[in-house]
C-alpha cells in the first residue's frame, strides 16, 4: 500500500509506457494518470510518438534483404567489403603521430570507417603475421643472412626498389623474408624480425595506388598492426598487441623506408 501511495515520478511515466515499470507500481501509475489529466496527456503524446516511429519505419524489417547484405555473400566476399566513408589523411599525420601526439588519427573509431585498403591490407598482413610467426623451422623463404640477395629478389618480384629496414638499433634481428600474394593481386614483400626474447615483428608491403595516408592502428586479440601508405606503397607493421612497443618498431621502419626517396 505504501508503495502504491508514493508519488509518481516522470521517470516512472517513461518506464510505464516502455514496459520497464516494476509490477508493484503499475496500478499506482494508472491511478495517478486517472487523477492527473495533464500527465495522462503527456503519456498519450509519448505513446503516439512511438506509434508514429513504428508506423514510419517498422515495415523496413519486412522488406526483402538486399543481395549485398546477404550473409553468405558477405562471407564469400570476405575482406572486400564496400566502405562508404573514405577518409584521406595527409602524410604529415604520420610525422605528427610518430613525433608524438597525433593520437586522434589512431583513435580506434577511425579505423571503423577507414578505406577498404586499410582493412584489406591489415587483415592480410595480420593473417600472414599469425601464420608465419609461429613457424620455427621455415618462417621465411630467404634468411636474414642473405639480406642483399633477398632485397634484390623481392624488389624484382614486387616491381619497385625495396629497402629492408635494419632494426638492430632497437634490438631486432632480421629473420628473413618471403614473397606473398598481396590483397590487390600484386606481390607483397614480407620481412620478419625477432627480438631477444623471441618476440617477432613483421613488415608487409605492397603496391597500392592510393593517396598517402596517416598512420592507422588496428588491434586484435593477440596481434596488432600499424598501416600507412606512402609513394603508392602500403606498409603494415605487425607484432604482439603491445602498442607502445609496436609504435617504436613502426617508427624505426618508417624512418628507413621513407629514406629511400632521398
Amino acid at each position: 500500500m505504501n508503495n502504491h501511495d508514493a508519488p509518481v515520478t516522470v521517470d516512472e511515466l517513461h518506464a510505464y509506457i516502455d514496459g520497464e515499470l516494476p509490477a508493484d507500481r503499475q496500478s499506482a501509475v494508472s491511478d495517478w494518470l486517472a487523477a492527473h489529466p495533464q500527465d495522462a496527456e503527456l503519456v498519450a503524446a509519448w505513446r503516439a510518438q512511438a506509434e508514429s516511429i513504428r508506423a514510419r519505419y517498422g515495415s523496413v524489417a519486412s522488406e526483402p534483404v538486399p543481395e549485398r547484405l546477404k550473409l553468405e555473400r558477405l562471407l564469400q566476399s570476405g575482406r572486400r567489403g564496400s566502405w562508404t566513408w573514405r577518409i584521406v589523411a595527409a602524410a604529415a599525420a604520420v610525422v605528427a603521430f610518430l613525433i608524438g601526439g597525433g593520437a586522434g588519427w589512431i583513435a580506434r573509431g577511425v579505423s571503423a570507417t577507414a578505406p577498404s585498403s586499410f582493412e584489406m591490407f591489415t587483415a592480410d598482413a595480420l593473417d600472414a603475421y599469425k601464420l608465419y610467426v609461429v613457424e620455427v623451422r621455415h618462417p621465411v623463404e630467404v634468411g636474414g643472412d642473405e639480406r642483399a640477395h633477398m632485397k634484390q629478389w623481392l624488389s624484382k618480384r614486387v616491381g619497385y626498389p625495396l629497402n629492408v629496414p635494419e632494426l638492430q638499433s632497437i634490438g631486432l634481428k632480421l629473420v628473413g623474408g618471403r614473397l606473398l600474394p598481396g590483397p590487390t593481386g600484386e606481390a607483397a614483400a614480407f620481412y620478419m624480425y625477432e627480438g631477444p626474447s623471441g618476440e617477432r615483428f613483421t613488415v608487409y608491403c605492397a603496391r597500392l595506388h592510393s593517396p598517402q595516408t596517416g598512420l592507422r592502428y588496428r588491434d586484435e586479440t593477440h596481434a596488432a598492426a600499424f598501416f600507412w601508405v606512402e609513394d603508392n606503397v602500403a606498409y603494415v607493421v605487425s607484432g604482439p598487441a603491445d602498442r607502445d612497443r609496436l609504435k617504436k618498431v613502426t617508427r624505426a621502419v618508417w624512418e628507413q623506408v621513407d629514406g629511400r626517396k632521398s
Partner: protein
C-alpha cells in the same frame, strides 16, 4: 560458429530498420548495415558469448557515430528528403513529421529513443549499447520525448487547420 552466423543473419532485418530510422536515408542505412556485418564477421573471435543482437546494435551505433563525425568533418549538404514524397500525402503526412522531428534530436537521444521504441530494447540493453549508466539512458529518452513533442506541437496547428 554456425549459431553465431544464424543469430547475425536473423538480426539483419531489424538492423536495417534501425539504420533507416537513424539515418533517414535508405542507401546510407544499408551501407551502415553492411559495414556492421563485415565488422561483426571479421571480429567474430572478439565475441565472447552474450547477446549477438545487442552486440550488432552496438557496432552499428558506433559506426553511425563515426559516420556523422566524418560527415561533420567535411560538410556534405545532404538534401532533406523530399524524394519519397508521393505516398506520403494525406494521413501519411504524420510519417514526415516524425521523420523531421527525429532529425532535430541530438544523436545520443535519437539512438536511445529508437532503440527503445522501435527496436524494443530494455533500458539495460540500451545502456550497454551506448556504454552509459541506465540513468543516462532515461534522461536521453526523456529529453528526446520532450523535444519531439515540442517540435510536433509547433507543427500541428497548421496541419489541423488544413483538415
Amino acid at each position: 560458429m554456425a549459431g553465431f552466423h544464424q543469430s547475425v543473419e536473423a538480426t539483419i532485418p531489424a538492423l536495417r530498420r534501425y539504420a533507416r530510422a537513424l539515418t533517414r536515408d535508405a542507401d546510407a542505412a544499408d551501407d551502415l548495415v553492411q559495414d556492421t556485418l563485415v565488422r561483426a564477421l571479421r571480429s567474430e573471435h572478439l565475441f565472447h558469448g552474450g547477446d549477438v543482437r545487442s552486440w550488432l546494435y552496438t557496432i552499428l551505433t558506433n559506426l553511425n557515430r563515426n559516420r556523422l563525425r566524418s560527415l561533420a568533418r567535411r560538410p556534405l549538404l545532404s538534401p532533406i528528403e523530399d524524394n519519397d514524397a508521393p505516398d506520403m500525402a494525406g494521413p501519411e503526412a504524420g510519417g514526415r513529421d516524425i521523420e523531421r522531428a527525429l532529425a532535430t534530436l541530438v544523436e545520443d537521444q535519437r539512438t536511445a529513443l529508437l532503440l527503445v521504441v522501435l527496436e524494443g530494447l530494455s533500458y539495460r540493453e540500451v545502456a550497454e549499447v551506448q556504454g552509459v549508466p541506465i540513468g543516462t539512458v532515461m534522461s536521453r529518452l526523456a529529453r528526446a520525448r520532450v523535444q519531439i513533442k515540442a517540435y510536433l506541437d509547433g507543427e500541428r496547428p497548421m496541419l489541423r487547420r488544413v483538415k
